[in-house]
């Protein structure tokens, strides 16, 4: 059977090199809009939320294409899909006119308790069947192309029957959805669990990759942790180059969520990603796009609470 997802992918726009819209980085992000092609948001930070956050999103929507990357869909959970969540997500996606949306191949809740973290699944046949059915329902309900992201994880769950790549491939093909490939997560997992990251990505259906995440990590004790709080290392850039030599993608995004450096360092990383991505003529055309810095950026005024972040720990 022909994949309707691959047909949909061929019609998606190529967005270029993007950054996450984070309240701590918002002022600098708006001031450097000519260096950023698109923004990714964590929808939970904007769903049914007003004030400064909403104004910031509205201002960003005027400047950039926006992509939604959720945390709490909890696609692998055995709880019922949260219809309140899905309705609010759909409203946001339609308001902002988001071309595709994504979440993580994990579970974040059980028995109605949200752990607010990306938790690994057993790579089992039962999980494949369960998740495939849920992805189809989510994709039908929202009505836009859906991508699932590989997470970094620090323990194998009991009940694993399949290699991770086989688990992912079965889900992607049977659910007929896209892959958000996080090359840093692959690299972090390769260090923690001892495998070859290049061989790993080669075993994935790379034609389904629509978007790539690039990030930094940190060694803490015996584990390498996906912190999104450090500079991207060369092997991760190399893995990005390898994937781009094998497939065309529509967007690459730098994740930086904590331990924020001088913004010039972030721009330099975006430029390096852009250089690597320039093997694709569609990315070359986007480079140097004449986007003027915004004069009406929205300063963060939130002093309480936290933004939800796509960290796996």
């Amino acid at each position: 059977m022909a994949s309707s997802f691959l047909k949909a992918k061929s019609q998606l726009p190529t967005l270029g090199v993007g950054l996450g819209l984070r309240r701590e980085l918002a002022t600098e992000t708006f001031a450097h809009s000519s260096s950023i092609d698109w923004l990714e948001i964590v929808p939970e930070n904007y769903m049914e939320i007003g004030g400064a956050a909403r104004e910031r999103l509205d201002a960003a929507t005027q400047q950039w294409p926006i992509i939604s990357h959720g945390i709490n869909l909890s696609i692998g959970s055995t709880d019922e899909l949260n219809t309140d969540y899905l309705k609010a997500l759909k409203v946001l996606i339609e308001q902002v006119n988001i071309p595709w949306f994504s979440d993580h191949l994990c579970f974040t809740s059980f028995d109605g308790i949200y752990l607010q973290d990306l938790l690994p699944l057993p790579f089992s046949k039962e999980a494949v069947k369960h998740i495939v059915e849920r992805i189809k329902r989510v994709q039908d309900f929202v009505g836009r192309p859906f991508l699932i992201e590989n997470i970094s994880f620090y323990m194998h769950m009991p009940g694993c029957e399949l290699p991770e790549t086989e688990f992912m491939t079965q889900i992607l093909e049977e659910a007929d959805c896209g892959l958000l490939l996080d090359v840093n997560n692959v690299y972090v997992n390769s260090l923690n669990h001892g495998f070859d990251p290049v061989q790993f990505v080669n075993q994935l259906p790379l034609e389904r990759v629509v978007q790539i995440h690039v990030a930094g990590h940190k060694k803490i004790g015996d584990y390498v942790i996906d912190t999104h709080g450090a500079a991207v290392v060369d092997p991760v850039f190399d893995l990005l180059a390898h994937v781009l030599s094998k497939t065309k993608v529509n967007g690459i995004m730098l994740e930086r969520d904590q331990n924020f450096p001088d913004f010039a360092e972030i721009i330099a990383e975006l430029d390096r990603i852009r250089e690597i991505a320039s093997v694709d003529p569609a990315f070359q055309q986007l480079s140097g796009k004449d986007r003027k810095p915004s004069l009406e950026f929205v300063e963060s005024t939130e002093s309480r609470g936290r933004e939800l972040r796509a960290l796996s720990a």
Partner: protein, 286 residues
């Protein structure tokens, strides 16, 4: 082979519950299980990577405590070294039940009011927690603040036909303790005072439509009654004036009119009121 549900419930419980985790990490599953671990799947428990489970457990707990602390920094200052204990107790009593990260902390004021020890030592703590929660709630409030027409209330006709439009994010609280004085103290003092005498106050809490900052303003008894009535029903300025006269039977009504008009102007400037509308109409301009 255990089901996906058994695996998620068993591992998830070990991750979020410190007592269950310590029991697993103690090495022998033959020891009596804590109550929370009694129904967990033994096959899954045997297979769990204990070191990994400990890492996830600690990171999840840290994330929860850090979040609670970011929303209730003054409560944390008051509770000092008892903070972690209270935070753990809170998440046991009110498990994280919402996909919005900050909302999982919304029950904390109720939880504090249910903690008899802390309420005895710090009887103002539930009010302080309520105040801190309201700041976040107003920051995130999804209501769009609809400004209405700006009308100078300078004639008897206008007083009778116009009503103030109350900021849609506004909440009025009557606290038993001097909450604004306490929070200024926690903000500025190097050594925290933890005893406060009762001294009731009326506070309006709302989001400024221009800056998006949350504002807290203490109101006197009459001003609070005026705002409360304006919020409850679409009272005309004349109705509000009648209320002010009823509450001040011994004052000269002419002086009261002048004072009320001054108060209304201040409330408009402070965006407690966001314009005026003709009684019975909603005429938002934004």
């Amino acid at each position: 082979m255990p089901s996906l549900r058994d695996i998620e419930k068993t591992v998830g419980t070990i991750w979020i519950d410190r007592t269950a985790r310590q029991w697993l990490l103690s090495g022998s599953l033959k020891k009596k299980a804590p109550k929370i671990a009694e129904g967990l799947n033994p096959e899954v428990l045997k297979e769990i990577d204990r070191k990994g489970a400990d890492l996830y457990g600690r990171l999840i707990n840290f994330g929860h405590y850090d979040l609670l602390c970011s929303i209730y920094p003054y409560c944390q200052k008051v509770l000092g070294k008892d903070w972690d204990y209270i935070a753990e107790k809170y998440f046991k009593a009110y498990p994280s039940d919402h996909y919005n990260l900050n909302k999982i902390c919304r029950h904390f004021p109720v939880f504090i009011s249910e903690c008899s020890d802390e309420m005895e030592k710090y009887p103002y703590l539930a009010e302080l927690a309520d105040y801190e929660w309201l700041e976040l709630e107003k920051v995130e409030d999804g209501s769009k603040i609809e400004r209405a027409e700006s009308v100078a209330i300078d004639s008897l006709e206008k007083i009778s036909i116009y009503s103030p439009v109350v900021n849609q994010t506004l909440t009025l609280r009557r606290y038993e303790y001097p909450i604004l004085e306490m929070t200024s103290h926690f903000e500025e003092a190097k050594r925290i005072r933890k005893k406060f005498a009762k001294d009731s106050c009326n506070v309006v809490i709302y989001r400024d439509p221009s800056t998006h900052r949350v504002r807290f303003i203490e109101l006197g008894k009459v001003a609070a009654a005026v705002v409360e009535k304006a919020q409850k029903d679409q009272s005309s300025y004349q109705d509000l004036l009648r209320l002010a006269i009823e509450l001040n039977p011994n004052k000269n009504p002419q002086d009261l009119v002048v004072q009320l008009l001054e108060l209304i102007e201040e409330l408009q400037t402070d965006t407690v009121f966001v314009g005026s509308s003709k009684k019975g109409e909603t005429n938002a301009i934004e």
